[in-house]
Amino acid sequence: MQDSALVAQLQDEQTRNAAFETLLELYQKPLYWHIRKIVISHDDADDVLQNVFIKVFHHIQEFKGESKLFSWLYRIATNEALSHLRKESKKTQITPEVLKQQRVSSLQADVYFDGDEIQLKLQQAVAQLPEKQQLVFNMHYFDNLKYSEISEILNTTEGALKASYHHAVKKIESFLKER
């Protein structure tokens, strides 16, 4: 279904519910994995994902079609995930970066992590990066998003994103070589 058609149905009270189920079907998985890579914990990703869709349902009228629906959803998911990390980190009086590193350190004992040693080290490497570089790396490398798509989500120029990605890869390589 075309973006515009789906949005029109979502914004129409008569067809909203059915259209919303379509939206869930299309975007539930990609949004979940995007959120999961930010918050690490499955339970947190579950909470954030639900909040995202509930927010989308209640605020769909505010979507003006200036960007793609997909970009809008991704942006909401990104903001919700980052807000969640900040909220959680405040509870223990540490920074969101430190919280994420702590979570990644305990990934091996996580029931919902089945990665090998390399995957674990990669997650640890990514967690060392600044927030923006983490997002760019995850979206481009794991989610296979184009720079043009990431640009729309993060509201950053493609040039800046490419530079960000380049620096991220260098730091990851350096991290992996040291260990």
Binding site: W33, R36, H42, Q50, V111, F113, Q123, F142
Partner: protein, 174 residues
């Protein structure tokens, strides 16, 4: 010179070279493994996932949970419209009117039967009367006469007057 075009049989080129049985079938598997190891040595592979896992049927359950939060199944409450209330009020008024019109006033009991015990209990809360007085009050022969006559002798009358009248009253000279 004839070429061997049967690709699914062990190849026997004109050169006379042969390959082991299932060689080409196993070749692909070997190459994939080797590529995998190579990538492990280098660091990471783009084809590999993140290692994150999810519970079984997570996405289906999550979908149901989201939908139930947005559309909770509350018990159906029929909203009563203003028209309903109007009709209900008129019906009640008509019923009430019908009842009062049909029922003769003589049949409406207004008397309350009060027993002697009830009267006694009521009066006992406020009025402190002796058992004799209660007997008198409740008796049908009782006639209330606050000025009931009593036969007094001359001495009794003199004593009463002495007790109740002051010296001032006696003194005619004042």
């Amino acid at each position: 010179m004839k070429l061997n075009r049967q690709h699914n049989t062990p190849s026997k080129q004109d050169s006379g070279f042969v390959v082991p049985e299932n060689y080409f079938a196993d070749f692909n598997k070997k190459m994939l493994l080797r590529t995998d190891l190579k990538n492990s040595v280098e660091g990471f592979s783009k084809e590999r996932n993140t290692g994150f896992e999810i519970p079984v049927n997570y996405f289906e359950n999550n979908r149901i949970e989201i939908l139930s939060k947005l559309h909770p199944t509350a018990p159906k409450v029929r909203k009563l419209t203003p028209r309903f209330w109007r009709v209900a009020a008129i019906s009640v008024a008509l019923l009430g009117l019908t009842y009062f019109l049909k029922t003769p006033t003589a049949n409406i009991q207004t008397e309350v039967v009060v027993g002697e015990t009830d009267i006694k209990n009521y009066l006992e809360t406020d009025i402190n009367l002796s058992a004799f007085d209660w007997e008198q009050l409740l008796s049908s022969d009782f006639t209330f006469d606050p000025f009931g006559s009593a036969e007094l002798s001359g001495d009794e009358m003199a004593q009463y007057l002495a007790e109740n009248l002051s010296a001032f009253d006696y003194d005619d000279e004042n």
